[in-house]
């Protein structure tokens, strides 16, 4: 009897190692939700949003009333940054980077499939905050991208997430 048990233990160990490996691999090999800022201009959401009390739509045009939310141009930055920052060497370097930045320093490719429309304005209007999908300013700075799947959209639209119920007809969002 005792003899039989040993190979089985080996089998279980193999299975456990494989399973564990799978999980680790899954978490490390697919970091495509980590967003690398392709711009050379550093930007800190926390310093602008939570510290200064700026609304997202201040820099992301359309985020509150439009269909899509855009990225700010250099001119938008210069509206505020035409005055130099306090003189620390770090800020000096930043001022210089801003001066030499191109016209549209920030680019962003949406992960939303091209056949889906997500009207930002309508969602804000019914009380969905930016953080609901995009995460907090801190998370955005850490490179988090909204991880929204259709089941998340549906859960919300079916009224399961505390927001008012909305249409679940295909043709309302798919085109």
């Amino acid at each position: 009897m005792q003899k039989r048990k040993i190979p089985f233990t080996i089998l279980w160990v193999i299975l456990a190692v494989c399973g564990g490996g799978l999980v680790v691999w899954d978490l490390t090999a697919f970091p495509d939700y980590i967003y690398e800022n392709p711009s050379t201009l550093p930007f800190n959401h926390e310093k602008h949003g939570e510290a200064l009390g700026l609304d997202c739509s201040k820099c992301h045009p359309g985020a509150e009333a439009g269909i899509r939310a855009g990225m700010p141009s250099k001119a938008d930055c210069m509206d505020c940054h035409n005055l130099p920052l306090s003189d620390s060497p770090e800020n000096e370097a930043f001022d210089k980077a801003l001066l030499t930045a191109k016209e549209n320093p920030f680019t962003f490719t949406s992960l939303l499939p091209s056949n889906v429309v997500f009207p930002h304005g309508l969602h804000v209007k019914s009380g969905v905050s930016c953080e609901t999908c995009h995460g907090s300013a801190k998370e955005i700075d850490a490179g988090r991208r909204p991880q929204v799947r259709m089941q998340d959209c549906l859960a919300c639209h079916q009224g399961k997430r505390g927001f008012p119920q909305a249409s679940t007809d295909c043709a309302r969002c798919h085109r």
């Binding site: 190979p7 089985f8 080996i10 089998l11 193999i14 299975l15 494989c18 399973g19 799978l22 691999w25 899954d26 697919f30 495509d32 939700y33 009333a65 269909i67 490719t109 949406s110 992960l111 939303l112 499939p113 091209s114 056949n115 429309v117 009207p119 304005g121 309508l122 209007k125 991208r145 991880q147 799947r149 249409s167 007809d169 295909c170 043709a171 309302r172 969002c173 798919h174 085109r175």
Partner: protein, 293 residues
């Protein structure tokens, strides 16, 4: 090393278990966006040329029969919107501007010579014997009934829509559409350089996916979203599909069949309303006008 038969079998089982676990791994963590890289400033004359060519492939107009005025969509009896169109054949002189506008609005690709020889043009709006023919947006749509995945589905606004990523390319819908309004992507148009992204609002359809006139759903959705953002009730006003907007004779009238004040209802009053004979009994929302009632 000597291995007993029993432990060999166990090892084999273990390897299989490990391999099948490996096979269950998550392929990708998020849906990738499908914005494909194609030209956004192509040579329009190529599209125009194909439209002129396609006229020869469809020399005969649809035979029309008189139908009652389109009304409520059978699947949405409580809706107060049933969008549709009426094409005034007394005004239409078959110039083909609507066909080009449709292709440009909806990123409709051209086809290669092989496909063209078989008459498999992708045109959502065809000029059949000079008569503009597109999906009639049947209320009782035969195409929707045979779609195994629900990719062909009725919109609550009373027209027939498509969810492209759901389409698995069985082509049942195309076979069941008596009007042959559906177009199948037999080839990868983007790969062959025959597709263009004229309109960023509309996705490119991949190979193996069915498509057809969507009643310019992107325009309708945007109009509705805009109205709702301002807190207004939207009943189909303030928007035109591309073909209707492009028609120099204003022969294509768009509107809401259930709104008695819409252009569509007013301009069809007292007119003879016709539909292609093949789909007349399926409650089409796109009809033709000719003469007096």
């Amino acid at each position: 090393m000597k291995i007993s038969r029993a432990s060999f079998l166990k090892l084999l089982t273990g390897t299989f278990a490990a391999l099948s676990l490996f096979g269950c791994r998550r392929e990708k963590s998020l849906p990738k966006n499908e914005h494909r890289e194609v030209s956004s400033k192509p040579d329009l004359s190529l599209w125009q040329k194909e439209i002129d060519e396609a006229r020869f492939a469809t020399p005969r107009p649809e035979s029309l029969v008189m139908v009652p005025r389109p009304g409520i969509h059978p699947k949405f009896p409580d809706a107060d919107v049933r969008l549709g169109m009426a094409i005034d054949l007394d005004l239409c002189d078959s110039c083909g501007k609507c066909a080009l506008a449709c292709m440009v609005e909806n990123n409709v690709p051209r086809v290669n010579a092989d496909e063209a020889r078989k008459g498999r043009y992708m045109h959502w709006l065809e000029l059949r014997g000079g008569m503009p023919v597109m999906c009639a947006h049947c209320g009782d749509a035969p195409c929707e009934k045979v779609c195994p995945t629900g990719a062909a589905v009725a919109s609550p606004d009373g027209f027939s829509s498509m969810v492209y990523p759901r389409c698995i390319g069985t082509r049942f819908c195309g076979a069941n559409c008596p009007l042959h309004a559906r177009k199948f992507n037999y080839t990868d148009a983007a790969e062959q350089g025959l597709a263009a992204k004229f309109n960023p609002e509309v996705p490119l359809r991949p190979q193996g996916v069915m498509e057809k006139c969507s009643l310019c759903i992107q325009r309708l959705q945007n109009a509705r979203i805009q109205a709702k953002t301002f807190g207004l009730e939207w009943r189909g006003s303030g928007v035109l599909p591309a073909c209707a907007a492009a028609c120099p004779k204003h022969a294509i009238i768009f509107g809401n069949w259930l709104d008695l004040n819409s252009d569509l209802v007013r301009k069809t009053r007292g007119r003879g309303i016709y539909a292609p004979k093949s789909i007349a009994k399926f409650l089409p929302a796109v009809v033709y006008l000719r003469g007096k009632a």
